[in-house]
């Protein structure tokens, strides 16, 4: 991989808050055009990492390179090409959305026209409320305004920290569609952190899972999911018999729960046909076999392993 295609290069990144180790020797790379999912439970160190990438907090050690340049020495140049939402969207509540964006546009490092501001307000569905004070906005509206401010300077890299928090399902879908559009149509690199794991599954091509400040896994979303455990629902006509025939097999340990005639297994993809065959060969009718490829399950299994 050509280093010019690396948008973010994190190396040995560590952050201590007094005696608390928030991020530990983190290493990862975000490539140009990636929608990079950054996953982890609360307190994993996601926001701390994002704040370090945006120079809001200072690493204890390690290096951050963005667009091939070290953040420490090229902060202004780098940030003029970065747009971001960090945690909850906060603005000057006593000013209108339009005025907030106008103010931020003036310090965005690029010339941002009034038309661009209005286009962005339209894009996030706030054009009609552009002149309302932000303190009158709902959380969802502020979140959308956050997206608009992140795109003000037409950045190459967009860092979105939990961008769908507080949005209704429709709003969440709109943000997902916007992320896909920004990536595909405008070729922007998106660094997306979220605790809504299905969100990452739907939009990200690469991802990293973080737990207790440590990287658990990093790679292509498809590859990582393919090789991992699936939750498989098997519906049978004789549940008691199934329980008996599985009792002394390797499958028994894979049962997560039984509810009526439904068995919930945690299985690897390649084990599913063998299980099906075994049950059927014992004269039991399998009426349904549903594998669910859930990033959430994957996430939970992988972080549980880390514990």
């Amino acid at each position: 991989m050509n280093s010019s295609e690396n948008v973010i290069e994190i190396s040995g990144l560590t952050k201590h808050f007094k005696n608390v180790l928030a991020v530990d020797e983190l290493e990862f790379t975000v490539l140009k055009g990636d929608v990079f999912g950054f996953l982890g439970p609360n307190g994993a160190g996601k926001s701390t990492t994002i704040r370090m990438i945006l120079s809001l907090i200072f690493p204890t050690s390690g290096s951050i390179k963005i667009f091939g340049k070290t953040l420490l020495d090229n902060r202004k140049e780098i940030l003029s090409n970065v747009g971001a939402i960090v945690e909850k969207p906060d603005f000057y509540g006593y000013l209108s959305a339009l005025k907030n964006l106008q103010i931020l546009a003036k310090i965005s490092g690029k010339v941002v026209s009034q038309n661009r501001i209005m286009e962005l307000l339209e894009l996030v569905g706030l054009k009609d409320r552009a002149k309302s004070k932000v303190k009158t906005y709902s959380h969802g509206m502020k979140q959308r305004l956050g997206i608009a401010q992140a795109l003000l300077n037409d950045p190459e890299l967009v860092v979105l920290d939990e961008p769908t928090t507080g949005l209704d399902p429709q709003g969440m879908k709109e943000i997902r569609d916007l992320i896909i559009r920004l990536s595909k149509d405008e070729n922007k690199t998106i660094f997306l952190s979220s605790h809504i794991l299905s969100e990452i599954e739907l939009v990200a091509n690469r991802m990293l899972i973080l737990n207790k400040g440590n990287k658990i896994v990093e790679g292509r979303v498809d590859d990582l999911l393919k090789s991992k455990v699936l939750k498989v629902t098997v519906e049978v006509d004789k549940p008691e018999e199934v329980k008996n025939i599985l009792q002394n097999t390797q499958w028994y340990q894979c049962i997560e729960s039984i509810q009526g005639n439904k068995f919930y297994f945690n299985l690897e993809q390649e084990d599913i046909p063998a299980l099906n065959k075994y049950i059927v060969e014992n004269g039991i009718l399998v009426s349904a076999l549903v594998p669910v490829r859930s990033l959430e399950d994957y996430f939970l299994s992988i972080t549980a392993q880390a514990k």
């Binding site: 120079s55 003029s80 000057y92 006593y94 103010i103 003036k106 310090i107 490092g109």
Partner: protein, 280 residues
């Protein structure tokens, strides 16, 4: 960029309701004092000059705009710090409280530029408050009470300034008052850089001023020794412009000390803010 940032800071300052509390307070208080002086001023003047009248014949308009303004400046300079701290204490901490550090610091502006712009904007606000006090007390005082000679009781003399010898003294005195209040402003910004809530810096600034003033008031040797190091000791030295002859050395020393305080507070704030992790 710094000019843009200062304009933005001023815009934000003057869009906030709390900014106008000081202007409104002065706008109400000073006309009330004018009214009180209009009704009772002659009595006050007679009381002050009762000892003099036994030995001198005082003629002319001593109850004039200059005298009223001098009295008001004496009375209010000790209270203006609270109005300054009210706004200056919010300049950095207010961003933390509102969570707007995150949208500000993630822009391509340096932290030094942010601090500098806040100091400049805070100083402009402070100066405009002092200017407002000057307009309200001196300009309106002159309109209502007219001009005349200014009677000043210095610690060791009674001085009467001629009409034509007064205005420049007021201009310099108000300039010096603006400098004094800018020290308060920079102290409040320093405190503001340490916390994430504006109440703390406002209360802390006032606490420091009150403690320093109390320490300055006690005339005992140990406190007399530390007095030169308390910036509050120099805040009221605008009065030096109304002594004759001017003690230039004292005025320059006070000006340098106050300016030095601003520089120290600015430097400390810059160092703290440049190293600060923005966690709000």
């Amino acid at each position: 960029m710094i000019v843009t940032l200062v304009k933005i800071e001023l815009f934000k300052i003057f869009k906030k309701w709390r900014t106008y509390i000081g202007f409104i307070a002065i706008g109400i208080l000073v006309p009330l004092l004018h009214l009180a002086m209009y009704l009772e001023g002659q009595k006050s003047l007679d009381f002050i000059t009762r000892g003099l009248r036994d030995s001198f014949i005082l003629v002319g308009n001593l109850l004039n705009g200059y005298w009223i303004s001098y009295i008001i400046l004496n009375a209010l300079t000790i209270h203006i710090p609270f109005l300054v701290a009210l706004v200056a204490g919010d300049l950095l901490a207010g961003e933390a409280t509102a969570g707007t550090y995150r949208v500000l610091i993630t822009r391509p502006v340096s932290r030094m530029q942010v601090v500098t712009s806040k100091f400049i904007a805070g100083t402009i606000y402070t100066s405009s408050l002092v200017l407002w006090l000057a307009i309200m007390s001196l300009v309106i005082g002159l309109i209502v009470f007219g001009t005349g000679e200014l009677l000043v009781m210095s610690p060791d003399a009674i001085i009467i300034f001629e009409k034509g010898d007064i205005l420049w003294r007021f201009i310099l005195a108000y300039g010096f008052a603006a400098l004094s209040m800018s020290v308060v402003c920079s102290l409040a910004i320093l405190f503001s850089s340490l916390v994430e809530n504006a109440i703390g810096p406002i209360v802390s600034t006032m606490a420091v001023i009150i403690i320093f003033i109390i320490l300055s008031a006690f005339d005992v040797q140990i406190l007399r020794d530390i007095r030169p190091y308390l910036f509050t000791n120099y805040i009221l030295q605008w009065r030096e412009f109304f002594y004759n002859p001017l003690n230039l050395e004292k005025i320059i020393k006070a000006t340098l000390i106050l300016s030095g305080h601003i520089l120290i507070f600015f430097t400390a704030t810059s160092i703290i803010f440049k190293r600060k992790d923005i966690l709000s």
